[in-house]
Symmetry: D3
Subunit: 232 residues, 6 copies
């Protein structure tokens, strides 16, 4: 996997979705999970899932934060390098995590947090240096609207099914999930597509129109072969 | 529980929500789960939960219907008298069950099906005589938009948290969940509130205005005591 | 006004919206306020407005039902023949009124209840014989999601501004508000448009195509004049 | 096509979506287009498309009804037996057609009207006996929110792409579009699936559980073969 | 109040929502009201409310800006230091205020503007140096979609009830309302919670896991007491 | 037109919507089309329209990018200086264009891209220096959710009707469309309104309250005349 992960760091999420589409998978991009701070590095890691259901007032209380099934306990179970993916059912009025939990995740070397919900304590979260993809920020705590029910189960996130072990890649275009068994193939095909698009960019820069170039006709394929040969 | 269930059959869901509100529980009514056929009997039963996540095209296929974790297998695990409550994430473009699955649930003496999603094969579902609360009808099968992932887990349904063993009551005003440990108390308080409301109805019919009557002042309380005494 | 009200009982809400559009008013139909029981008589009356804001848990309680600013007190202020129009902010998870309040409104000869929210105790509300236009039904009481704050103020309802004294007309196509100062004009023009549409229907029945008929060219205008003369 | 149309009249829209899903087409059911009057016959016909864009106040006026590109002119272009499919962009606050236009469509032997918008003059539309699938009813005319721009173009309807000549089938589960070149294949496969489901229903009625039956294992396949042979 | 206000300037809105939740108030954060320019100082002030209803074309016109009940008149009634809170019903297609009104509010020493709607003339509003919390920006004026109806009434804003005199606190996590009678208690408890969270941060920084720390067990409580004593 | 375009570059979109409102046009601002990079120059140009409908899996494929009706072909048809306006039906889960297409549009001297959808390859799009107004960013390609069907047809964009040849103006408050026949009038009236607002700003800066100033009474009109005379 290490080689595939290294390759995926050079492949945009846009390209990954196109590669997956060619394999029949259209639902892989998590709607709403956008970078809290744009312009950062691309994140790549195995999905560690977290699941919330709606609040029930007798269960979702500040006291519940100390129970065995709690976000705190889940964080202690996260392996270094994973990407925590939280199913917040798209709720935007209760932050799933605040600065303290995010700091702890960073301490545990979690690679990133991805959610279709929101976070809270925005200033503190940004200071913690954990890359976050989410819908935004809200002041209320998760218990205001959500009950945490478990980790490493199949979840929904932003209209996608996420299974523990899926590989997540996230950049400025959002976050995508790659089914485990397709990761190496997607990495390789993605790298080749990035190479072709670099060629296309150089062609567009010298004024070539897109019809015939992208997708390529035979002439463009030949020019690409030459370009690739020269580039080594 | 049998006695509580019998009492709950005489208590409206409207009254149950008011009794729960007085105990601090505001999130108990499942938005979107309305009777497919209005005017039927009130349904009461223990919640048997079903959970869906979004479709992933490589997993949610007609072939998946034969897998061990399937809606078919879940139905065979349902005890007689339970109310199946399905978390469809509010999706209205893929029917979670069609006529054949609904017929099988009826055969297994399931008391009702409640979901924040929709069903399909409406005509056939109505013929199967299983009471259904849902958002409506769609032609596509669940695999068109959903992946079934398990049963008897905590779920979300219509903005509520539902835990296996919660007691569900459903009538023409929709479906509510009562936390297991509150069922007997809610049944008893609900029955008393229904009695008071019968008295209020008789008062309104003879022209009494509501201020002072509902909620009652001392005079109304006295009249109610007399009414109750006479009624036996 | 009595004559105008009598005329409006014969004019569809569809026609009223067209007449108002010709006067530059496009926002007059209240989105979401549909008949609880379709097929009833057209309701016409002066708007008596009710206003809700969201719940605040320390204020919106069953106890608040006994306070001076309460839905109960508002009902006692409603004049016979008015149409109560309630701004529920489109909230569909808390019924603004249940059977008892609706019964009291019927006793006070209120002509109808119109809201962009929902009602509760559907069975009881239907038995009370007060015509209701709403988004549907929910079990929870208003205090579950709403705080009542006053009556006979300008309100929003279904995307329209409603001012006390506006005239409301409601039928199977929904509910519209006519600004007070336009009522007589709208009634007269509406009646004439209904007459022309009766003529058009008779023409369509005998196979006349619509271009040239609706809107009319000179030939159609002449046929209409003859039809009207014959009809007396 | 006549034979395929006759077969499709015996195949539910639910079954058609499953057949199309097996061919890789998931987007074929038009969200929001539900029967105005449930329980009617299944409608089958070629799509005749209509397209609306939002209102612009200087163009969408009652006067525009007389222009060459108008809904009236489009109706005169509809062939007998077609199903008119209107892209109303899901707008629910302006009825695309009222009773008079619907009557004219019925006169011209249009098979049905399908839209992701709403109609107006509900009572009159129901009297006209043209089967209608829509989101409901609104009093305002199309010009209140929409501008009609043309017919027999590719359109969007309820989240689907509809091309002129697609075949539309509509019943109580809603309306689906079948790409022209797949119609005969879908009809044949749909009829076979309906036959298998009839067998399944008979099995469920005698108490057979679904695992192994639907989808079938070898034993079920054998029983089905016998059942089919006996049935002739 | 001055002391409480000074304390609240040091308490995050995230913390305030947690303190209020412990008092049973879950609805205090105004959905959609986010900082136009993030990273500014926390705003604290008494709520001065403004209320809009939908446009009615005969009333909401540029001419209406000169009427006695107008946004202009409301601004002249705002006391220095207040926070103007505007109920725009969440409408995002008409800016409630543009640069000129915002400049005048700044001149009158209004502390901030908070709304669930949007503003217009974004560049000019930013130049005016009035801190603004809103859903974003739109070019059209309020009269394009809204009618202003009054000030210092109870209003809805972002799913919360806001009463004149509530205290509003706003920072990068959004805006919250504190009921008047709870302000001093919330300020004091909030300050203590901020202190505890500072301790937690220092613990997390040195690698302490969260279970047992947040919420604290007895050992953590003892470490906190020592930390607090040392800190003075 | 050149003179009008030059004037419009000095008129804010906020002002243009007010001028259009006075002419009876309320629907001119495209909801959702906001600057990808705020703070840039105002864009002015004739609308070149692009139209998408939803995806149909057999048609919207990477292969379709090479067909005669394709986004590539549309780009080659765009005249220098036009503003491309794309009807993406508000879909936010599939980017209509990525960096390569945007680079080609910049090469062809297109003035701007405006859409109610989203773009992809955000980093690359920003590098291409084509000003873009959109709802944001998504990784998936257009074919994941959309089918391109044509150009220079009437379209919907952000709740507005856009006709080829309308003039589009876009700045930090979003994008507006001016009907072709009103462009010169709107430019002239807009410029005069900007001038009056400059005067108002200077008045507000010296502490003049708004009532009587904006809109102006006779005294303010006189002061404005003097201000204008002095300014030359």
């Amino acid at each position: 996997m290490t080689a595939a992960f290294a390759m995926l760091r050079r492949v945009t999420t846009a390209t990954i979705t196109t590669v997956l589409l060619k394999k029949g998978i259209r639902r892989c991009w998590m709607q709403g999970a956008m970078p809290l701070v744009p312009g950062g590095a691309r994140a790549v890691g195995e999905a560690f899932t977290l699941r919330f259901v709606p609040v029930r007032e007798d269960l979702a209380t500040p006291e519940s934060w100390g129970k065995p099934i709690s976000t705190r306990a889940a964080i202690e179970a996260m392996p270094a390098g994973c990407i925590a993916v939280a199913d917040a059912m798209g709720v935007t009025s209760a932050g799933i995590f605040g600065d303290i939990l995010v700091m702890r995740m960073a301490k545990r070397s979690v690679a990133a947090l991805v959610t279709d919900g929101v976070i809270r304590d925005k200033a503190g979260c940004m200071a913690a240096n954990l890359p976050i993809w989410c819908q935004g920020t809200a002041a209320p705590a998760s218990v205001n609207g959500l009950t945490f029910v478990g980790w490493n189960e199949p979840i929904a996130c932003g209209g996608c099914a996420i299974f523990p072990g899926d590989v997540v890649v996230a950049d400025d275009d959002g976050a995508v999930a790659i089914p485990k068994n397709l990761v190496e193939q997607v990495a390789a095909e993605g790298e080749e597509q990035e190479r072709y698009e670099s060629f296309v960019v150089s062609e567009v820069e010298r004024g070539v129109p897109l019809p015939g170039l992208y997708p390529p006709d035979d002439a463009a394929r030949a020019r690409y072969a030459a370009w690739k040969a020269k580039r080594g």
